[in-house]
């Protein structure tokens, strides 16, 4: 018997075990997946929880409900991987041996990494929405918050779902308008990036959307600490942004066992080939989803598109054939923009998000980099797709590789050479 061991039963880990279970004969392969608990969250739903738009039960299911028959789910914390002995040590002493290992333990917010963040003001005037507990605490806060200075903040890149803090900002703007509070709320978006987002075309679009909503932008802000006496973010170059309510995205890091196992970089991400997800040190170790260090967005859509490539390559590898499929870094993200509308972006390692339609030229039905109601309905419908199509490992009717069909390059002004800037 050959043994496939997967660490992490989140989006990537669940997809990979379900897909491979239908390809690898039960008589020849065991598949085991390990997670610390049996609670699977629909993480994109966390964005809506603080505004009361989703009920808690819409975003949570038991993990085992999404895992097919013939796969063993082990509930335990991972202590460490011993990659030279092909063994995984679990907390509590159990040892699992493998022929192939997939690390899919994702990335998590780490507020303890920034002085002042997870201290006296935590869950008082400092909140986050990337965990279920955090999103629910923020929901309670917003229920009675009288207004003041709201600061939405990104600590350090990369983060999971890099558009989510912008979406939160747009939804907060709409929420306060609906509740007749907007004139009592001053909103500022604080980011370590040079603009609202990463790449020039989308950054300009999203920056314009902040501007139109009367939301301030504080770019190039790398936080050193939070001053809990004065309630202010303090940057390394000694700028200060005071707040009454801070909604931050803490530093994101991979699982600590990755570091203990000597497999991680300085943020505990596993170093793998960006086209095949294979560890460069160990041929039988792969990392999928947010746990890897590939230079793509940390997002469920990337994990999904990557899965097609991984599945083909893995089946080649176990037959003793070369891995020929290459991942292009394809990502596809809905951006909720408030008041019943949303945007969509579609991009990869080399092509930045561009305007146009998706997946079909002209007819769409989705519009790229433009706010429409159809995009918003797409975002809401995606929750059903997640539970019923993605996690079971079924195919979506869109290609895994990014396509230029439907995209327009409107030739924005070329970025200014750095020499011309400050």
């Amino acid at each position: 018997m050959q043994r496939l061991l997967v660490l992490g039963a989140g989006t990537a880990g669940t997809m990979v075990v379900n897909r491979l279970r239908s390809k690898l004969p039960v008589s020849e392969w065991t598949i085991t997946v390990v997670d610390a608990d049996d609670t699977h969250y629909y993480q994109p739903g966390f964005l809506f929880l603080p505004f009361g738009a989703y009920r808690p039960e819409q975003v949570v299911r038991p993990r085992r409900q999404s895992i097919k028959a013939g796969i063993e789910l082990v509930t335990a914390e991972v202590d460490r991987v011993d990659p030279t002995a092909d063994r995984v040590q679990l907390v509590g002493g159990r040892v699992l041996e493998y022929d192939y290992l997939v690390i899919a333990t994702g990335t998590s917010p780490r507020p303890d990494q920034t002085p002042g963040m997870a201290e006296a003001l935590w869950h008082e005037s400092i909140h986050e929405f990337y965990t279920y507990e955090g999103a629910m605490a923020l929901r309670e806060k917003l229920r009675t918050w009288p207004g003041g200075r709201l600061v939405v903040h990104v600590t350090e890149m990369p983060i999971k779902c890099p558009v989510a803090p912008l979406e939160f900002t747009f939804l907060a703007d709409a929420f306060f308008r609906e509740n007749g509070l907007r004139d009592r709320v001053d909103i500022t978006y604080v980011t370590p990036l040079e603009g609202a987002f990463t790449k020039p075309v989308s950054s300009a679009h999203l920056g314009d959307m902040l501007n139109k909503r009367g939301i301030g932008l504080e770019p190039d802000f790398v936080v050193e600490r939070i001053d809990t006496d004065t309630s202010a973010l303090v940057s390394y170059d000694e700028r200060e942004v005071p707040f009454d309510l801070l909604v931050t995205v803490p530093v994101n890091m991979g699982a600590d066992f990755v570091a203990r196992s000597g497999l991680g970089d300085d943020l505990n991400y596993v170093h793998v080939d960006k086209q095949t997800f294979q560890s460069e040190k160990f041929d039988n170790i792969f990392a999928l989803g947010d746990a890897s260090d590939i230079p793509a967005s940390k997002a469920g859509s990337v994990a999904h598109f990557a899965m097609d490539v991984f599945e083909r390559n893995f089946l080649s590898l176990v037959r003793g054939e070369p891995m020929r499929a290459e991942f292009d870094g394809h990502a596809n993200c809905f951006i909720e923009s408030g008041r019943g509308k949303g945007m969509l972006i579609d991009f990869n390692y080399v092509t930045e998000p561009l305007p146009g339609t998706y997946p079909l030229p002209t007819v769409g039905p989705f519009s790229l980099l433009r706010e429409t109601r159809v995009n918003h309905w797409g975002k809401l419908f995606f929750r059903w797709i997640y539970w019923n199509v993605l996690l079971p490992g079924r195919q979506l009717p869109v290609p895994a590789r990014m396509s230029m069909a439907g995209k327009r390059h409107d030739a924005p002004a070329a970025p200014t050479p750095i020499a011309a800037k400050d």
Partner: protein, 104 residues
């Protein structure tokens, strides 16, 4: 990719002016690139630039400000003092390397 003349030699650059060929760079060029963005190179700057070059040669990618701190031994605070406002971008520009990842 455009080619431009810097310090008396042809170098390959992208549309933001970052060098695209690792071997086009030399220390004389670094001083010219630094001058363009208003930085006078001191020993402290050179420590960062040389670390970035060596680390890129070994890793195949540009070190982030976090890595320059944890591996290169230059605290982020000092990086901001040496390369004001945009240390990640400015250090890599002078070192003739691509902008660090994390911006995806």
């Amino acid at each position: 990719m455009p080619i431009t003349m810097l310090n008396g030699k042809d170098v390959h650059v992208n549309d933001e002016g970052f060098l695209t060929e690792f071997d086009d760079w030399d220390e004389g060029l670094a001083a010219v690139l630094a001058e363009q963005i208003g930085i006078d190179l001191t020993d402290a700057h050179w420590k960062v630039i040389r670390f970035l070059r060596e680390d890129y040669r070994a890793q195949g990618e540009t070190a982030t400000t976090r890595r320059v701190h944890t591996v290169g031994g230059v605290p982020v605070k000092e990086q901001f003092a040496l390369f004001p406002k945009k240390p990640g971008k400015k250090m890599s520009y002078i070192a003739g390397l691509p902008k660090p990842h994390g911006c995806v």
